[in-house]
Amino acid sequence: MIKIENLSKQFNGKNGTVTALDNINVEMHDGDIFGIIGMSGAGKSTLLRCITLLERPDSGSIYIDGNDILKLNKQELRKARRKMGVVFQHYNLLMQETVAKNVAFPMEIAGMEKNQIKERVNELLTLVKIGDKADFYPAQLSGGQRQRVAIARALATNPEALLCDEPTSALDVLTTKQVLNLLKEINKSLNTTIIIITHEMSAVKAVCNKVAVINDGRFVEMGLTKDVFANPSHDVTKMLLGIGEM
């Protein structure tokens, strides 16, 4: 379970202070596919970067299975990070390494045994349905296939949660559907909590059981996807649904 309490983050730039996250509170339960949707600049990426601690929040707490990850020391943090898999919009694969090597990467870092890694790589590539591409390089793959590699890599260390920042924004409609279906399957078969950050309503509708709408660094609406979509209360939600006006 991921629990976020009173999370805030500001950036001090040349044009003054930007409040990217303003007192965020949320609970994500095991097995949830949690969508976080909002317009550009709403603070989606910042939220994800705070959960992965690529960005240090100014205040608040982030509990993963009851432990506040903001209180961990470096060593503990490195271990805790293996409980989270991250999928990026632009895949962030090693371009000079094969698909198999990319998927093996987090396991090598964790110090797993070579034979074990090999076995697990095959298993993961089969799971994401690119078992035949093990010896390919990312440059030889399509965008959808690259994202599958990234998903396999994110799952390598058996994380409890999969965090995806705009995982389908660089993909076409059909490929988007396939990648989303894959995430859904993974959620079903492995019971992995999945957080999907997106600006596409269709992605949320397709796979998320819960959704939070973020605007100006604040969650303006949150709940079961079907409830939020049936009764949108905030203007931004209506607009994202295509029924509101600016």
């Binding site: 690529l54 490195r78 991250v86 990026f88 962030n92 694969l93 990467f105 870092i109 964790a110 030889q140």
Partner: protein, 223 residues
């Protein structure tokens, strides 16, 4: 032509060999020192994975000073040091000392540039997976910048090659030495030409080999 080869062939061959020897040894050692230095310069920058502005400033400053001293001056200046290390101040082995000292900061900057080209998203991805800084350096930075590092190697080694010719002034051997003693002091025209031609061939060869290597190594090419 035959007479020329009979008279000077062995001499030129030996000098070419010495030049290659100095270039290879100096390049090797300046990379052994320059790669860690270049990586250190890159990662200690503001926003780098081991940000340390003071270290970066001081090291960068030393590198700049070393780079701004003309090679001829540096070479003469450190003769006592060269004697201490190599036991002599003449010959290819002695020449390697100033060559390595001059080339290391150069190599460090070239390496630093290659490291800097690595997509920061990859480094962040590795961080998210719990990679240590050492793992990020060895498994991400040096791996992803490999083609760029190889292209940098061609620049460094050709620069070092041209430096070896300068060491000819203090009797280090190699083609530079031949060019000075036979081409300049004894004023033998054929020797002037042949040393230049041999140096050009070496440069072209290095460039060609590195280009092929860099292309083969770069997995972003869909081959």
């Amino acid at each position: 032509m035959e007479a020329f080869i009979n008279q000077y062939g062995a001499l030129l061959l030996n000098a070419t060999w010495e030049t290659i020897y100095m270039t290879v040894v100096s390049t090797l050692f300046s990379y052994i020192l320059g790669v860690p230095l270049g990586v250190a310069l890159s990662i200690t920058k503001k926003g780098g994975i081991a940000s340390s502005p003071t270290f970066n400033y001081v090291t960068g400053w030393i590198v700049n000073i070393l780079r701004s001293v003309p090679f001829v001056i540096l070479m003469v200046f450190i003769v006592p040091f060269t004697r201490l290390i190599a036991g002599t101040s003449i010959g290819p082995n002695a020449a390697n000392i100033p060559l390595i000292i001059a080339a290391t900061p150069f190599v460090a900057r070239i390496v630093e540039q290659s490291i800097e080209e690595v997509d920061y998203g990859l480094i962040e991805a590795a961080k998210c997976m719990g990679a240590s800084n050492f793992q990020i350096i060895t498994k991400v930075m040096l791996v992803e910048s490999k083609p760029s590092l190889i292209r940098g190697l061609s620049i460094s080694s050709i620069t070092i090659l041209s430096y070896t010719a300068i060491t000819g002034i203090i009797g280090a051997g190699g083609l530079g030495n031949i060019a000075i003693t036979y081409g300049y002091q004894r004023y033998i025209e054929s020797m002037r030409y042949s040393t230049v031609i041999l140096l050009i061939i070496l440069v072209v060869l290095i460039q060609w080999l590195c280009n092929i290597w860099a292309f083969k190594a770069d997995k972003r090419n869909r081959n």
